[in-house]
Symmetry: C2
Subunit: 548 residues, 2 copies
């Protein structure tokens, strides 16, 4: 196997030169397609549903995400000549050439996709997507749609859980790029964490492509690259006061403040790391309006915090306000409380009121559990950076969506409810499931019904069966009924105005606010009710019996 | 924030239209770069090392992977005008314009990268990559290099562990595309699982881009889309015998065989699902040379296996050999044994010798633990498909590589060992760590030394200190010494012939064969020894003291 240098290493840009993801699928989709085609079934109408069987993270809900990318994929879906040639090279040579000619004509122009709006709360067994169209095409789309929805929804849900734990006021920064599954995994993580409720990302390309606000300051390597001898190496570092013209030599100013801070905090001046001081000074001079200190490279309380306070107070003297202080190791809650105490002390002692409220940012392998502990013990933290435990979703690293046939001629024949046109063998009637959400103030039930059934109305009693939980109908009366799905793709076109990422994010929070706290609980939530109408229940029972 | 439809949804192809990954990094790399630049340090020589602190999965080794993509990234590394403009729009407006002019000139032409060959066994604290060059550029590369190496090495190592468990003879099929972090996550998973020891992937695009052999047959949806009434719908299905011209009507032939099989296996003929039979027939007619049966859609022993045997025996009568039988649920080991028994019975009863050895393929959420159990109990399985537990690496979803400064003017000043050119402030000598591997038959120790030290030679005693485990030197005598790292990138060019993916895969197996079983044990391995020379030990101790 000879693979050219260009072929296997485009620096994470494997998808760079393609306009279509039609080959980003499992091979068996093409062998099945051939089976359908050989049996003359390629244009048979079919409907598949994409859903998950259990809510992720043992929780009570998920956020649907990835719809926008699915629609873009569908719009561009077709097999180009080099792709057809590749398929011919790997599939059995006994396959008829005419099949590949047929594949050349295949696109998504006869596909219809309905879905809840991206960012909606969704529940186990209720479809995230319904895909209708010719059997062969609907089958070919499976893996790519799953690939675009599974991780997107998983990480959006994970982000929403972190947001619920953190409450509405803390700022959440996603910084998982280096821990994700390569470049595109990192981009997906940034995009869908934002939808799920994060405020910022550290990922510059995600900022550039998606308009997500980006944030970042310094790493330990920056601090460590400065030493106490550094100041002799470089030209005098000066800074102009905010409202003055005459540059001030910043090093002696900061050193003067450091002596005062050390005295106030009773920290030995000669134990403070002067390389760290040099690093902070260089950063303050570079970003006088945006000074941020990373204070845990050496001793937090014996060096980092005094150095930060000294530089921030020197800046203050020149009219600038520091914007934050960051800790990236150890017991974050405890350290934040200690740092807040120091900031208050300096604020009082040096009569600088704003100093007491400088935002404290933390990051150190923050997980759901550690964040929960942080929040329970009360804390002085303003900004939380989360990487690994956000993007890799260690509590459940895969959502496990499936894509199942719910209607085809075969299925419908089993049900024995549709007539066939004897010449074309296509069904004369075509039915599909309708998904509804019942509300009584909050959402309390999702209902799947047949399209032919008169839709339940607000205020009207309706008989339903809880899916998989009972064989006995119960009666419920919603005060409001929402049609969950809209048609997003039809006749080869996206047929809804698509929201911006920020609008999707807002929709996600609005959607979550319609769910009771009992269902939103991160552990042992009360299961949300998913039901079917009596008529659909009987059909499903028949189907289940006939396939045994 | 208005984002165009094109901007946020290119169907997983976010990276599609870019030639550079220079923005695929954390924002703080640019704020730090500005800090260095403002301090006049942008061209200061620096060296960073990329390494992990603990072997993944509580194991004793990792496979290094991602080097090829890192080199491709470096070759294309520069910031283009729209990228510069974006950076200017999100970074503080007080930053000097001249910095962005400087960024416009930045590329990797002064960067030197050394590394072990891709696919080598690597150990905690020993660098996977050493990156030398101007401080500002070396810093800017951090996140992208981490993103390209972390997941690649993690999933290659995970694949190698599965391969070790399965032994050399079983065929391993990667089928994780739908469970990975989006399209590119799926591609990375396929590529690096192959390096780690998998034989095949289901991912067609990975096959097309990387030349990995692709495999796939049918899903349950295919089987379920056929019903017992299906045969009335479609034209008569016929098949030509391998050495004959006259097509045979396949359905009655298969039904005849089904009656015989049912009698032999004592399975009630009328309990067999005839939709499943129709599905198998359609597939056999489509792929007479490559017939594969997925036998667990309904009852495995009551329907799937009898149907498979009937169709395979009908094919056999026409001169074709079935190529496999697949189970995707339940107790895989037990079912494989039962299926093998049936195949043997049919083989004997119908005097078809090859029938007894038809390959059995299984897949059902196979994990390290379940594979270990399968292997311990002995089994009749020939092919194992692994998805979720391979690509999401649930035992440890992130490798956690870091990228640390090991040498810069600041560092070297601390060590006090280099002279500076007083006019340019650049060091007159420049030193780096050298990584060596000691062998005595098998590899037994990795040693880090200073470049200035005379390299240890085979057969010569050398004093070393085990890193982090002892302050006392010990003497070892390797029978062979390998220089672990080669220079892969220099003067803006890749300076080694890069191996094909298959060559990397072979190197990985060869590299693993140099490691003792005690180090390769999946649980509680004996730790591999990583050591430093006495001279490097003293330098590191000095450095550690000086930064406290």
């Amino acid at each position: 196997m000879a693979i050219s240098q260009d072929g296997w290493g485009r620096g994470g840009m494997a998808l760079g030169r393609r306009d279509s993801l039609a080959l980003l699928t499992d091979l068996y989709q093409f062998t099945m397609a051939y089976g359908y085609w050989r049996a003359g079934r390629q244009r048979e109408p079919a409907e598949f549903e994409l859903f998950f069987r259990r809510c992720p993270f043992q929780g009570g809900f998920a956020l649907s995400a990835g719809l926008g990318e699915c629609l873009a994929f569908l719009r561009g879906f077709r097999l180009r000549e080099p792709e057809i040639e590749y398929l011919q090279s790997v599939l059995p040579s006994t396959m008829e050439k005419a099949f590949f000619d047929y594949l050349r004509t295949v696109d998504a122009s006869e596909i219809t996709v309905s879905s809840a709006p991206e960012g909606s709360i969704v529940f186990a067994t209720v479809p995230l997507l319904q895909v209708k169209g010719p059997l062969l095409v609907v089958q070919l789309l499976e893996t790519t749609l799953l690939s675009l929805v599974n991780y997107a929804s998983l990480v959006a849900t994970n982000a929403a859980r972190f947001r619920m734990l953190a409450g509405p006021d803390k700022k959440l920064l996603e910084l998982g790029l280096r821990r994700a599954q390569g470049p595109d995994g990192g981009l997906s993580a940034s995009k869908y964490s934002y939808i799920g409720g994060f405020d910022w990302t550290s990922n510059v390309l995600a900022g550039n492509l998606y308009g997500i606000p980006v944030r970042g300051t310094v790493a330990h390597s920056y601090v460590m690259s400065f030493t106490s001898a550094m100041e002799v190496l470089f030209p005098m570092q000066t800074l102009k006061p905010l409202d003055g013209d005459e540059p001030v030599d910043f090093l002696p100013l900061a050193e003067t403040w450091l002596r005062q801070v050390c005295q106030t905090l009773q920290v030995p001046y000669d134990r403070v790391n002067h390389g760290e001081l040099a690093a902070f000074i260089s950063y303050a001079i570079a970003f006088p309006h945006n000074f941020y200190g990373l204070v845990d490279t050496y001793s937090i309380m014996g060096s980092g915090v005094p150095n930060f306070c000294a530089v921030a107070l020197a800046l203050n003297q020149l009219g600038y306000h520091a914007v934050g202080i960051r800790v990236d190791s150890g017991d974050l809650g405890k350290q934040a409380r200690e740092i807040r105490q120091v900031l208050r002390t300096c604020s009082a002692n040096f009569q600088v009121p704003w100093f007491a409220t400088i935002p404290i940012a933390v990051s150190n392998d923050v997980s759901e559990r550690s964040l929960e502990e942080l929040m329970q013990e009360g804390n002085e933290i303003d900004i939380i950076g989360i990487g690994t435990n956000l993007v890799t979703c260690p509590l459940q690293p895969s959502l496990g969506c499936v894509y199942k046939v719910t209607s085809s001629v075969g299925y419908s024949l089993t049900r024995g409810i549709i007539a066939l046109n004897p010449s074309t063998h296509t069904p004369l009637t075509w039915e599909a499931n309708v998904c509804l959400r019942f509300l009584a103030g909050l959402a309390f039930m999702d209902l799947m019904a047949l399209e032919e059934e008169p839709p339940p109305r607000a205020g009207q009693e309706v008989a339903v069966l809880l899916l998989g939980r009972s064989e006995v109908a119960r009666r419920v009366t919603p005060t409001a009924v929402e049609i969950l799905h809209r048609t997003y793709f039809k006749d080869g076109q996206v047929c809804q105005a698509l929201p911006s990422l920020l609008e999707i994010k807002s929709h996600a929070q609005a959607s979550l606010s319609m769910l009771s706290p009992a269902h939103k609980r991160l552990q042992d939530p009360e299961p949300y009710q998913v039901a079917v109408t009596e008529k659909l229940h009987f059909l499903l029972s028949d189907l289940s019996r006939s396939s045994q």
